[in-house]
């Protein structure tokens, strides 16, 4: 068995590693290479040093987009995790315990399925649906629900709220998955702990804060990383839903959209690559920070 170990491992690894090198590593190296050029996306490549990065530094839209990505990075994980945690708690423990087992609120099995539904829809479909929900005139779902005398809310067409609308859709789409994730986590918390606490007279709120959250902390951290990464993307929603894609006046622009538009619409593949490099380092920083935080955490534990 031992003799066959290495060929066995190599046999397993060669295909994924080759794919990874071709489609991720090579593509990244090329992005770094192109970020130093003024390549239009077609034809010969001309190198211009760090010109693209200087241009980035002075590009208002770039800073706006970064701000929007950070807005998502801060709010998307927090709100999604809190909501998912509350729902998961209600579904699993919220019904109190009877006959020696804790259970969720009435009908929790049905809710669990319903919560997961948004996850099954393709993002493009979600974007189109919410485009109608946020419709700026009376044909929009929300505006249709408002009293007749109200002036229609512009939602996505209003520079102040465009990004908020995107955030809401992202949360709506993500919550279901994290409800399931947290439910699984809660399922693995021994029932005796809840029982003991309940016998000591703990209320549901105490149970949630003193038992569920501490024992679920690891899962929460995983959720944080995933949601943080989702916050760096948001491309599909912004591209489909917003006014003038990323507008009005850049009010909903994000980095991924800027990359796409520069590469494929403005014939500025070099500039787009420079944006890609920035996004690469942002993602890397985020991942490194998260890992650093969790390391300290595990030392303390």
């Amino acid at each position: 068995m031992r003799r066959g170990k290495y060929p066995f491992i190599i046999g397993f690894l060669i295909v994924p590693v080759a794919l990874y090198c071709t489609f991720v590593v090579a593509a990244y190296l090329q992005t770094f290479q192109l970020s130093l050029s003024s390549w239009s996306g077609l034809g010969p490549i001309e190198y211009v040093g760090f010109d693209n990065f200087t241009k980035l530094w002075h590009d208002e839209l770039f800073w706006k987009s970064i701000r929007h990505n950070i807005f998502l990075l801060v709010l998307l994980p927090i709100v999604t995790i809190i909501l998912a945690m509350v729902f998961a708690f209600l579904l699993n423990v919220g019904g109190g315990h009877r006959g020696g087992t804790t259970r969720g609120v009435w009908g929790s099995k049905v809710y669990r399925v319903i919560f997961f539904f948004p996850q099954l829809l393709a993002l493009a479909i979600v974007a189109v649906i919410f485009g109608r929900v946020f419709g700026p005139d009376k044909s929009g779902m929300l505006n249709g629900l408002f009293p007749e005398s109200w002036k229609p809310w512009l939602f996505l067409a209003d520079e102040r709220y465009a990004m908020l609308c995107i955030l809401i859709v992202l949360i709506w789409q993500a919550v279901g998955f994290y409800v399931v994730l947290f439910s699984a986590g809660m399922g693995s918390i021994p029932a005796e702990i809840y029982e003991a606490a309940a016998l000591d007279g703990a209320t549901r709120i105490t149970l949630f804060f003193r038992i569920t959250i501490p024992l679920l902390w690891n899962t929460v951290q995983v959720a944080w990383v995933y949601l943080g990464i989702a916050a760096f993307d948001a491309f599909a929603l912004v591209n489909i839903m917003t006014v003038d894609r990323g507008g009005p006046n850049g009010a909903s622009s994000v980095l991924s959209l800027m990359i796409y538009r520069n590469a494929f619409e403005f014939s500025q593949a070099g500039y787009a690559s420079a944006l890609g490099v920035v996004l690469f380092f942002l993602t890397l920083t985020f991942a490194a920070l998260t890992l650093r935080v969790t390391r300290r955490d595990s030392v303390e534990a």
């Binding site: 090579a26 077609l42 995983v222 991924s256 595990s298």
Partner: protein, 479 residues
């Protein structure tokens, strides 16, 4: 898949690291999306099909070589290619197999193939996802069409292809003196309205700005939004309306200056007056919610007689065909004169050849691609195209005397009335996509947020000079 998160056997840090890797994967990598970078220019010596030139085969195509065509599937549909052009091509060249495909995402589908040195032979570069044609020309990826335009027309005896086209048709696809594109459809731009609705209310089409605003007041009083366009994705219709007015005030030279990125071009009086006049319309007569609507939504409202005037090109009637209720009669009006001293008359219109079709220079059969274009430019194909799409073509007079639809008849009349006062408009929107993008945001601000003409001019002037100063953008000029 969720249980892996709860199994204590899985090291959490490994998991996080893995999650971080997923994030890196998800980060768009331009290098990969655009496929083999630059390889297209290296191995350009791929074998290309040719045949012997003769009177019957002026472009010297190989009668047996296949031709691959890609058509944009949009407002014009694709039936003209499959049901008219391809059968016509095969009638003359029965052994040349046409490989046909259609897409709504031209740049996503075609650009990687061009970069890989494997482009289709004839490409319809159109739609919101079209490729930057200026960049394609600069990269040497579009075949020069001089021989096509000099070749005899397929079915108009005694004339070359060039001689059968409307004035300006070739110029529009000419880059630095050489033709590279056939702009096939002939689009008439103006204010579209429902002729039946206007007749019912005794509303007459205005020719002066005072008449226009007076009529708008009447329309508003009737509970109909006088004017509208879709801010979410079709603000460039409004850009065209504004610049057409500017062109009428100060002739096409105003627009040429804009195209040539001349300093101060956007600060010209004609632009300012046009922006002022339209900003007024925006302040008083537009429905502010349109900023968040898409073009189909506003067009539908017009079909429901909730919007009176809509600025658009002559593709509108066909695009809305299935939503147009019986009794709704599309008609087009020229934009009213802004001032009494406009240099062009009120009947002047902006009409332009549009819809780029080009033969790829580095495909397998560029001559075949050109022959396909020659087929499209025959009178028979042009008439077929007009019948199917309700759009005129650049083949002059191909549909004269044929009644096809009210909108088309109206557009034809507008062209006749305008006579020599037809101008092609501007090209900066295809030359400099970034400037195009800026104009959309600026016109939305003008029309929906206060109508500040000076702000519009300043913003566009700044954007125009930024493009002029950017050495990574290929510049073009026109005269």
């Amino acid at each position: 898949m969720t249980e892996i998160f709860t199994q204590p056997a899985v090291d959490r840090r490994t998991l996080l690291r893995r999650a971080a890797a997923v994030g890196l994967l998800a980060t768009p990598a331009v290098g990969m999306l655009s496929a083999c970078v630059g390889s297209g220019s290296d191995d350009s010596d791929q074998e290309q099909a040719t045949g012997t030139k003769s009177a019957d085969n002026p472009l010297g195509i190989d009668p047996k070589a296949g031709v691959e065509i890609v058509i944009f599937n949009g407002g014009l549909g694709t039936a003209y290619a499959t049901d008219v052009d391809t059968p016509l091509f095969n009638k003359k060249w029965p052994d040349a197999k046409i490989t046909y495909s259609a897409t709504e995402q031209i740049s996503t589908v075609i650009q990687p193939r061009i970069n890989a040195g494997n482009p289709p032979d004839m490409i319809n570069n159109s739609g919101s996802n079209l490729m930057d044609f200026g960049a394609i020309v600069k990269a040497g990826q579009a075949a020069e069409l001089t021989d096509l335009f000099a070749a005899p027309s397929l079915d108009i005896a005694g004339k070359t292809v060039a001689e059968t086209l409307v004035p300006g048709a070739i110029e529009q696809g000419t880059y630095n003196g050489k033709p590279y594109a056939v702009n096939y459809s002939y689009t008439v731009f103006g204010l579209w309205y429902n002729k039946a609705l206007f007749a019912k209310n005794n509303w007459t089409i205005p020719t002066t700005w005072a008449d226009f605003t007076a009529l708008c007041d009447k329309i508003k009083a009737a509970g109909i939004t006088p004017f509208g366009y879709a801010g979410a994705n079709a603000s460039y219709y409004m850009v065209r309306a504004l610049l057409t007015s500017a062109g009428k005030i100060g002739t096409e030279q105003v627009l040429k200056d804009i195209d040539n990125l001349k300093p101060g071009a956007w600060q010209a009086d004609a632009i300012k007056q046009a922006a002022q006049a339209w900003g007024e319309i925006g302040n008083k007569y537009i429905n502010k919610t349109f900023l968040g609507l898409k073009h189909t939504e506003v067009q539908l409202q017009q079909n429901q007689d909730k919007v009176a005037f809509y600025p658009c090109g002559s593709w509108l009637e066909n695009e809305q065909a299935k939503d147009t209720p019986p009794g709704f009669e599309y008609a087009i009006a020229a934009y009213p004169s802004v001032t009494a001293s406009d240099k062009l008359p009120a009947t002047a219109i902006n009409a332009a050849a549009g819809e780029i079709y080009f033969a790829a220079a580095k495909g397998k059969n560029p001559q075949g691609g050109k022959e396909y274009l020659r087929t499209m430019l025959s009178k028979e194909a042009a008439l077929g195209f007009t019948k199917l799409t309700k759009s005129l073509t650049v083949v002059a007079g191909a549909s004269d005397g044929v009644t096809i639809s009210p909108g088309l008849t109206s557009a034809n009349e507008a062209v006749t009335k305008a006579g020599k006062d037809i101008f092609m408009g501007y090209l900066f929107d295809t030359w400099y996509k970034k400037l195009d993008d800026e104009s959309r945001g600026a016109v939305n601000d003008l029309m929906f947020k206060g109508g500040d003409a000076q702000k519009f001019c300043d913003r566009m002037e700044k954007a125009s000079q930024a493009v002029a100063a950017d050495s990574s953008i290929t510049k073009f000029t026109r005269s």
